[in-house]
Symmetry: C2
């Protein structure tokens, strides 16, 4: 029954599902309190109180057929204008509602733009370590994902290898900053050099290469680090944003695409992306949540909670002898495995009821991802377990 294209996805899925089931199994044996599940990226910090208040106010103040009804496939015009204004205020951009397309989260935004631009065989470059679903998204449109190997010193993108991997078939480049799984933020210098390379290659090959910036973690940055706005560096840029993390609404599936005027064929791309949103079956981003975004445009989750987690876990693991760069954003630590085969390390952790994700799931073996979007208490309770693991490895 299953299509040939879905078969490998079904087979690969079992590894992740197995970890999920293992967590449930361990919790049933040892109690949830005594299982330290760092495997998921599901925010534990609640949405700002203003979100639920906005929902109630909308229901009291706006008409039901408007709030729950169809609108333009690209979203309510006033919501899109509010998003554009907010970006302009914060990043000095000059967008308007015709640059903003409301989407069913960033994952749907990525699919929309890939469907809009990819022909079969077109190449899309990304940088290891990367979110494993990028491969599925690109294959959905018969594209080919080309992976630049990781720079494990800094986890900044390896731009020399990037330059070499651009071909006349390169149609897109996906970046993710702040990064899942490393927490690294790309600097302005990095983006400038990346843009220079892209412009030169567009000129050399006479092609258009779209820089697709996947930004669900944009608002999750610590220590005052700047997360540069990518459209300022390179004209052929499309931003995929999600409120999943900035407002802790991952289940609601609400985000947007930014398609700037500077993008080649911008109006045609916006129009085609709007149609892609419809024919892929989303039709439009969930309506009530769009209305919420208008009222909560300046809201943000409590970042301090994540920052406290980050410092506790980072310092705790470092003191135990683990090796890890300090993340500047998102809510993950990407820790070097004490043995070359990080899957064995994951197994060793599991014996202490500690669940972490192998780096090979992000095309970066030898590392593991530890999500700190968990309770502070879980991190505190887990440190003695990490101490035992460190001792086993003689750290």
């Amino acid at each position: 029954m299953i299509s040939e294209k879905m078969k490998p996805l079904v087979n690969n899925n079992s590894a992740i599902r197995a970890m999920f089931e293992e967590g449930k199994r361990l919790a049933s044996i040892y109690g949830a309190e005594n299982v330290y599940d760092f495997s998921l990226g599901n925010p534990n910090v609640p949405a700002p109180a203003a979100v639920n208040q906005a929902i109630k106010d909308i229901l009291d103040e706006e008409d039901s057929t408007f709030v729950h009804g169809y609108m333009s496939n690209s979203g309510y015009e006033d919501v899109r204008a509010t998003v554009a204004d907010s970006l302009n205020r914060r990043f000095g951009t000059h967008f308007n509602q015709d640059n903003i397309l409301m989407t069913v989260g960033a994952a749907s935004g990525l699919n929309i733009i890939l469907k809009t631009i990819l022909n079969p065989g077109d190449e899309v470059i990304t940088f290891a370590p990367y979110f494993v679903e990028y491969g599925s998204y690109v294959r959905n449109y018969d594209g080919v994902l080309v992976v630049v190997s990781p720079d494990t010193e800094t986890f900044q993108p390896n731009l020399d290898e990037f330059e070499q991997k651009i071909t006349p078939r390169t149609k897109g480049v996906i970046i993710n900053t702040p990064n899942n799984p490393t927490g690294v933020v790309y600097s302005a210098g990095t983006l400038e050099r990346m843009a220079d390379i892209l412009r030169a290659k567009e000129k050399e090959y006479g092609t258009a290469i779209v820089l697709i910036s996947d930004e669900p973690y944009r608002e999750l940055a610590y220590d005052g680090v700047e997360v540069p706005y990518v459209t300022g560096f390179y004209d052929d840029t499309v931003i995929c944003y999600s409120y999943s993390k900035s407002l802790s609404l991952p289940g609601e599936r609400i985000g947007y695409l930014v398609i700037p005027d500077e993008l080649q064929d911008s109006k045609e791309v916006f129009n085609a992306a709007t149609i892609a949103n419809r024919v892929m079956g989303c039709v439009n981003a969930p309506s009530l949540m769009q209305r919420v975004i208008k009222r909560c445009i300046d809201e943000q989750v409590n970042l301090e909670a994540y920052d406290k987690n980050r410092n506790l876990l980072y310092n705790g693991l470092k003191d135990l002898g683990f090796v890890c760069i300090k993340p500047q954003g998102a809510f993950y630590l990407f820790v070097k495995s004490p043995e070359a085969d990080e899957k064995k390390f994951c197994e060793a952790c599991k014996k202490h009821n500690v669940l972490v994700v192998p780096g090979s799931s992000f095309a970066c073996p030898g590392y593991v991802r530890i999500s700190y979007c968990v309770s502070y208490g879980q991190i505190e309770r887990s440190l003695p377990a990490f101490a035992k693991i460190a001792a086993e490895y003689g750290l």
Copy 2:
């Protein structure tokens, strides 16, 4: 910039967009009160009051990270169980939560099941007149839509032609009952014969043919007509449901797939469909609206309002001499054009500020679709305009 596959969609889109723009243009000249726009299928009856109350109660009673958070890609287990129980109560089925996959509306459900089962070149049969997006959905997965020509006497499916058009490449059949655009409901007898044909062809060719029932209008049936539940007729059935019309929540994008145990490889199909939901970028159906469905499972919009509209418009047009079968469900009339080229008839209507959709948009030229999900007042005010149109055609 635009992919080859998107280009025809962009070009075809302009006709519908033109009608939308024309409506706005006419309203700005003559006033919205004096433009009779029957072109859209956007419910005008508000959601039941219980929906907004349920939203407020959920926000007060359930935890924020639960209500707005990730859950299984197939949806909250308790919501899926509630949907299964409701179906079992109403239709004598025996589903459980493992047969229900919550989706971003029925359009997304259709895309999910087509992605799950279609290989390039596979054929999907549907019956004219049909919702034009079916073609886009099937082409998304490189399938081929095969159209059975309409029986314009009854608008029941032409089953003789259907039987002839089934080939070894037929992987799916899409039906839509109550039907957009005709309002026709398929009888138990029709479904029985359709199932007999499918079973015989599955046996003859040694293939699996999935009957995909697109049911956004299931609850919109009048005069006590029964809308038979399709899984009872044929094992290889998948139901695509939406609450867009039954609860007037089209903008919220909430619906579900039913994947019965009787379907061949049922468990594998459910698993693959769950993964398809994720990798297409929806990830999961909007979380708050899933919670709403649990609390509003027995709610329904005020059908009387649509029924009143139906009778006023049907009788009004019939008295004027227009030819139309009386719809048993949905909120559309499919009226015979008084001249062979219905596009010219649409133009003639437009001169009286009456906007209707040509049947060729549903692969059924010679007819027009008139949506009666509008205010009763609009229908009342429009009848003198229809009278003038009738007079022009000498009806």
